[in-house]
């Protein structure tokens, strides 16, 4: 057994999930099975293998069709860093309109600090 009841409860707390005792037991069994399966990753020799830090290889732009628009990309072919300029972002009302409880310009939540 890889995962215990306590593991599930600890993780549920970290993830702010309120699980019923039945859910804890169900997930414990299922996660145990999944993690056993995932255990096959331990078979591989990882010496000298770097974790994949970004999805696209650095040379992808060079391998792709060249066209005038491509100059917008950085030299390594990755999306350019855009200029650091202020742009209007007048969305507060639209965003607050979706809030379950808003008191403009704030989101209202239960009291956090007791005094």
């Amino acid at each position: 057994m890889t995962i215990s009841r306590e593991d599930v409860l600890r993780v549920a707390e970290l993830a702010h999930l309120e699980l019923t005792p039945a859910e804890v037991e169900l997930y414990r069994g299922q996660l145990d099975e999944i993690l056993n399966y995932v255990g096959k990753l331990q078979e591989l020799d990882m010496a000298g293998v770097e974790p994949m830090a970004q999805v696209l290889p650095r040379d992808h732009a060079a391998a792709s069709h060249s066209a005038p628009g491509a100059s917008a990309a950085g030299a390594d072919g990755h999306p350019e860093l855009r200029d650091d300029v202020v742009r209007p972002c007048d969305v507060a009302d639209a965003v607050l309109a979706q809030a379950p409880d808003a008191a403009k310009p704030f989101f209202r939540v239960p009291k956090v600090i007791d005094r």
């Binding site: 309120e18 099975e33 990755h78 969305v91 979706q98 239960p110």
Partner: protein, 481 residues
Amino acid sequence: MSAATPWTIAGVRDALLAKKISARELAKEFFAQIDRRNAELNAFLTLSPDRAYAQADRVDARVSRGESLPPLAGVPVAIKDVISTKGVRTTCGSKILEPYIPPYDATAIERLENAGAVILGKTNCDEFAMGSSNENSAYGPVRNPVALDRVPGGSSGGSAAAVAAGLAVAALGTDTGGSIRQPGACCGIPALMPTYGRVSRYGLIAFASSLDRIGPFATNIADTAAVMGVIAGHDSNDSTSAAVPVPDYGAEIERPLEGIRIGVPEDYFGEGLDAEVKANVLAGIALLERLGCRQVPLKMPHTDYAIATYYVIATAEASSNLARYDGVRYGLRVPAATLIEMYRKTRDRGFGPEVKRRIVLGTYVLSSGYYDAYYLRAQKVRSLIARDFAAAFEKVDFILTPTAPTPAFKLGEKTADPLQMYLADIYTVTGSLAGVPGISVPCGKTKIGLPVGLQIFGTHFSEGGVLQLARAFEKAGGFSV
């Protein structure tokens, strides 16, 4: 419209220009069809008639003024409900976003509408795109229009079912581990996952950000290419979107096949592959060889580790991305006396079982003491899987595999066993991890009439080539091989 002669993008354009039908009448026809079929299929969650008719009227005004028409003018499309649509409810198939109405459009939506497309509504999907059967939707499963007792695949099952049933000419889905390609295979239509970064993710509600991609469903390759040409391209609102020029896919697909090398890795034909699926896929590959493609032997040794790698990385990213649903800023809130209790009760009531399972798994693999053994290791194996693809594309232009190990399964068949459900993605997650494009094209049917999908992978940004091969396959009758 009838099932025998489905509308195509070119057909819509011709009919509009010849004034045989107006965009408004066409939209009305599709809404009527949805009215007739949706109770049974459950493909649409929300319809957007106001938005659709307003757009149709704009198209009709252009027609009446004799102006040129944009590429998707008047084309009725459906949108997976994880893609933000301004003013149109977007639930992600979840109760936690049941009341959510996005204040902005995703870039892909903006581009579709600028190209004249008429958005009919939002399609059902597995909750937060987590699933391979659409049975994880909080709004009930979608039924496969080909066989109503079977799943349409997932997670973009509503989009696939809508197009396959003629309830939309094309649709957008999203693919994180197979969620476009596998439902395409199950419903018998072409379904394209573009290269990572090819289509902007701005406005796509995140599941696993290093894997998520938006892509098209259509009934034929020309339409797939037309939609792709509209949604592809760099967007400064998505820092992972690539500044690689978008070719004219419509021209690319009609180029003749010349000197094409294909690889058929044996690693994709092992245990668990349905015999009929295997026979169909091999027949499809034989057809491509008759069209002049040369087969080169290929091994992709880390294929067998892809599901394990995927479910560590995808759940880790999901546990982080879904932390935002806490009842504070949007969606469901369950009132409680304290903030933490409000978070917990909101998430408890708002999330369904598969989402909770993945959050628990993802939090576990990222947690102190387990990070190195699971998450870091999976990221390293992801490098090895990407290397398999890079090495393969030194030798071949395209990799051909089955899309899914079985045809569409029955509703309820796999819901009790999450691991079995995860294995439905065994042939699709590899390309997801490597970031390459992949298409599923119809490749005949089983004896009882269930569609089979043939998957074509190409190297990064080779959508034009992938579609070109798919078009040659389609033209040669491969869809009904």
